[in-house]
């Protein structure tokens, strides 16, 4: 992932409208060789359209699609070296597993023995040995998924496109296949774009995520970037629950590397890692429920602590979930591994402690304020 490497696929300022509706509003992104990038976003965000533009099933209204240095934006799907696995798998029901996998090879006029060898190789790759003669309706959903994957990989495309490939599988199988797809992808080192609306699926499978919302890229980054350093409130709320807390930066101490933010609950002391934050900035603190700790309201006072009342609690074994009320405001607190530690019942007075390492979103810059 060095910046010097030429990207395998590059999108340059891609726009797409259907009639009056603008679906994609200037998408630019680079995907490195061997990388797995996920297009993720709520339904209707344009992620499938973007994938179909890469695959050639839809043409962009403007912008370029550059594959390995060549602009393929105007080529039909059959002239591009990208292969797609469809959400419905799109397996040909009138052909058996082998014929499905070998379909593209046959079109390329490969000799029969070479096709057979290649198909055997692929069957082994997706752990379907011995099932080649089965018809499509006689294999399970997970197996259909494997066949669709093998068929797309047969011609060794430069980029593999996966359109919500796991959405038709049940929850357990989804996890298995997710790991399997990632496994195969890493083993053969194929550049892959994966589309999903499921943020956890995206987080767990990707090298990087491209989060789309309303036709605009909200953020591109690794799962860690997205979760720990979200670019905006949408991203922060998109991956997991988040308590937003508004405040103003009061002071920054460069020596101790601390910043002080005044919120409606009081002054908070935070690590000053984000150097673009200045005194006077209006900010939003991204407080994840699991980073907050609860303690009884008596006991020693600690910094970054507020007093509140438990409004509701839910115990789920591995997790105790509390909603703590501070006057009008509420904060969700997740207490993981609650076994053996103190539980708080409804209406108990509690102390909530916010950690110092908190991501800060700048809402209004102090310099812009002047």
């Amino acid at each position: 992932m060095q910046a010097t490497q030429t990207p395998m696929l590059e999108l340059r300022d891609v726009y797409k409208s259907f009639g009056d509706v603008e679906v994609l509003k200037g998408i630019s992104a680079k995907i490195d060789k061997g990388e797995l990038l996920t297009f993720v976003g709520p339904s209707g965000c344009g992620k499938t359209t973007l994938l179909r533009i890469v695959g050639g099933f839809t043409t962009a209204t403007s912008g370029q699609v550059i594959l390995d240095g060549e602009d393929i934006g105007k080529l039909p799907p059959n002239m591009r070296n990208t292969k797609m696995v469809f959400q419905s798998y799109a397996l040909f029901p009138h052909m058996n597993v082998r014929k499905n996998i070998g379909f593209g090879l046959k079109l390329q006029k490969w000799p029969r023995e070479k096709i057979e060898t290649r198909v055997d190789e692929l069957l082994a790759l997706v752990h379907m040995e011995g099932l080649g003669e089965r018809t499509i309706d006689r294999i399970s959903g997970g197996q259909q998924q494997r066949v669709a994957l093998a068929r797309a990989l047969a011609l060794e495309p430069k980029v593999l496109l996966l359109d919500e490939p796991l959405s038709n599988l049940d929850a357990n199988l989804r996890v298995v296949m997710r790991e399997e797809i990632r496994n195969i992808q890493e083993r053969i080192g194929i550049t892959t774009i994966f589309v999903t609306h499921d943020q956890y699926e995206a987080m767990s499978i990707s090298d990087r995520l491209l989060v789309l919302h309303e036709g605009i890229i909200q953020q591109i980054g690794s799962p860690i970037d997205i979760y720990e350093r979200p670019a905006n409130e949408f991203i922060a709320g998109f991956v997991g629950y988040v308590n937003f807390l508004e405040g103003t930066v009061d002071a920054i101490n460069e020596e101790t590397n601390m910043s002080y933010v005044i919120t409606e609950y009081g002054k908070l002391e935070l690590d000053h890692d984000q150097k673009d934050i200045e005194v006077g900035d209006e900010v939003v603190l991204v407080i994840r429920p699991e980073t907050v700790s609860l303690s009884p309201s008596h006991g020693t006072e600690r910094p970054n602590t507020f007093h509140g009342t438990v409004e509701s609690q839910m115990y789920a074994g591995n997790l105790a979930k509390y909603t703590v009320k501070f006057g009008e405001k509420k904060m969700v607190v997740d207490h993981y591994n609650p076994m053996g530690s103190e539980k708080f019942s409804k209406n108990t007075k509690v102390k909530v402690t916010v950690p110092r390492a908190i991501h800060v979103l700048k809402r209004k810059s102090a310099s812009a304020n002047v």
Binding site: T48, R52, G55, G56, F57, T58, P76, P77, N78, T82, K83, M84, F86, Q87, S88, Y89, A90, L91, F92, P93, H94, F103, G104, L107, Q108, I136, D137, Q144, R151, A152, L155, S167, N168
Partner: protein, 562 residues
């Protein structure tokens, strides 16, 4: 408590007993009466035909069948009928596929106009094309005169052309349905794998559509061999089974031979009906789950687009031209010969009386048909009694049986007590009711499929008895199916010729019969004007049916009566 209830029962007296009897037995009463009706008005006539073909003056005999195979004339008739069926079938599957491919995957500007042309013949009786072809290509035909051709329309070419145009909607609708139901991802994947459009059509689209194409082909075949009007008007000297059956009765009064011809005609129909409903049912490729992205119209490869357009556009033009000359023919003296405007054809009293008679018969048939159809659908869906499948099969068979056969059956079955109906309007009405029952029944069944039996159970749970549920819940829900059945039966009765031609009495003409007779006599103006009126009435009915279908999601209008 128990005493209080008992007291109530005796207090309500006879009315209560009556009501509770019906509560328990209404469904069975319906089932019993419907069984009786189907037996009398469908099975009995068909059995009469079968028996008559085997029963001579000296009892059981195969003489009539021997006679059928001895005479050149008759087996030519069989052979011609099969040739007509097969050739129309082959042509229509190809033409229907071209139309359907273009309307589902072709250029946007072409889709709607092509679809309209392909469906237009639905609004007219099949024999309209005989009249229009004679007007265009007859001895004094418009185009014959214009281009100085010496083309004989009373020929194989004429009959096949007329049949193809008449049954284009049937083939088109079925194939379009198949092409629409294919998951677009399949064709996209093939393209992704590097297949050209020709290759996709050859190795993906056609193989996947094949079961649907086969079904369309079989239906077209049945409809074509059963059709009476076009071969009768344009057939010239070529014998055809349906026409010969009619001639055997009207010309020679030979009921035995008419019955033999009917049995011969019915055999392929029954075989195909069984094949279609029981062997091919559910065949085809289940679409694998998942949404197919609405494919953006992409440009077709010229290698496909141009041949498909060469096939379908002339056919579409021919359909439009046919309707055009019917309209023209209604208002001018003789099209192409004397183009002076006249209103006589339209005002002709005999024509108007025939139209009026047809409307009366059709309203009667529509009403009775809708009632019987709705009840049948309900009994078939909700009843629990042995023989349900047989009941459904018999009810739907009227559609598959050639009209001429049922016509022959009706004159034999109902010209003597206990069911003396010959000469009355009722024989025509009942004939149409039971021939066209299938669509009303299917509309009812599809409506009942939409509503869960739990609705009725919930009503019962809330304290409603069966009578209340039936009248307050079931009938209102089925009302749209009732109306659809009514309009459909009305429409098909308006256009029906093959069966009623046996049943009309002199002095009581129906529009279809009047059109047939005037066309035979070369009175094309009168035939055109009457046809135009029928088209107008049918078009209005179709419009209403469309509105109902759109409002209620009923799937109607995929079948066509001959």
């Amino acid at each position: 408590m128990a005493e209080a209830v008992m007291g109530n029962v005796t207090g309500r007296g006879i009315w209560y007993k009556f009501r509770s009897f019906f509560n328990k037995n209404l469904l069975n009463i319906f089932a019993g009466s419907l069984f009786a009706l189907l037996a009398i008005f469908l099975l009995y006539p068909i059995i009469s035909v079968l028996l008559k073909s085997l029963w001579g003056d000296d009892g059981l005999t195969f003489d009539f069948y021997v006679e059928f195979f001895r005479y050149n004339f008759y087996y030519w008739s069989l052979l011609n009928t099969l040739i007509l069926g097969v050739s129309t079938m082959i042509i229509l599957v190809i033409v229907g596929f071209c139309f359907a491919y273009l309307t589902t995957r072709g250029p946007l500007w072409l889709r709607k106009p092509l679809k309209i042309c392909a469906l237009l013949p639905l609004a007219a009786p099949p024999y309209i094309f005989s009249i229009s072809l004679i007007t265009l290509f007859g001895r004094n035909g418009l185009i014959n005169n214009l281009l100085n051709l010496n083309f004989n329309i009373y020929s194989w070419t004429g009959v096949i052309t007329a049949q193809c145009l008449a049954f284009l909607p049937l083939s088109f609708m079925m194939i379009e349905n198949v092409l629409n139901s294919l998951n677009p991802s399949l064709e996209e994947t093939a393209s992704d794998m590097g297949a050209s459009e020709v290759r996709i059509v050859r190795s993906i689209t056609v193989p996947l559509a094949a079961p649907g194409l086969l079904k369309a082909a079989l239906l077209v075949f049945v409809m074509t061999i059963a059709e009476f009007g076009n071969p009768a008007i344009l057939g010239g000297r070529n014998p055809f089974l349906a026409v010969d059956t009619y001639l055997a009765i009207t010309g020679e009064g030979d009921f035995n031979m008419a019955s033999v011809l009917s049995v011969v005609l019915i055999t392929p129909c029954v075989l195909i009906f069984i094949l279609h409903n029981y062997v091919l049912k559910g065949k085809g490729y289940a679409t694998i789950t998942g949404k197919g992205m609405a494919a953006e119209p992409k440009s077709m490869a010229p290698v496909i687009k141009i041949p498909f357009m060469i096939v379908s556009i002339p056919v579409a033009v021919m359909v439009l031209l046919s309707f055009g000359v019917i309209l023209l023919g209604s208002f001018v003296k003789i099209v192409g010969v004397d183009n002076t405007f006249v209103i006589d054809h339209v005002l002709n009293t005999q024509s108007n009386i025939a139209i009026w008679n047809s409307i009366k018969v059709s309203l009667g048939a529509g009403l009775v048909g809708a009632i019987v159809g709705t009840l049948l659908a309900y009994v078939i869906m909700r009843g629990k009694f042995p023989g349900k499948q047989i009941m459904e099969m018999v009810a739907l068979s009227g559609f598959a049986l050639p009209g001429t056969v049922i016509g022959v059956g009706y004159i034999m079955a109902f010209n003597r007590p206990p069911f003396l109906l010959t000469g009355t309007i009722w024989i025509i009405i009942l004939n149409c009711v039971f021939r066209f029952l299938a669509v009303g029944v299917e509309a009812g069944i599809s409506k009942l499929h939409q509503i869960s039996v739990e609705i009725e159970e919930a009503s019962a749970d809330l304290g409603a008895d069966f009578i209340t549920i039936f009248f307050k819940v079931v009938l209102p829900i089925m009302f749209s199916a009732f109306v659809a059945g009514f309009i459909y039966t009305f429409m098909t009765t308006m256009m029906s010729l093959s069966s009623v031609i046996f049943l009309v009495t002199p002095g009581f003409d129906l529009a279809s019969v009047y059109i047939y007779l005037t066309a035979q006599l070369g009175e094309l103006g009168l035939a055109s004007a009457t046809t135009m009126k029928v088209i107008a009435i049918v078009a209005v009915s179709l419009g209403i049916l469309q509105i109902i279908a759109r409002k209620t999601g009923l799937d109607v209008g995929t079948k066509q009566g001959a």
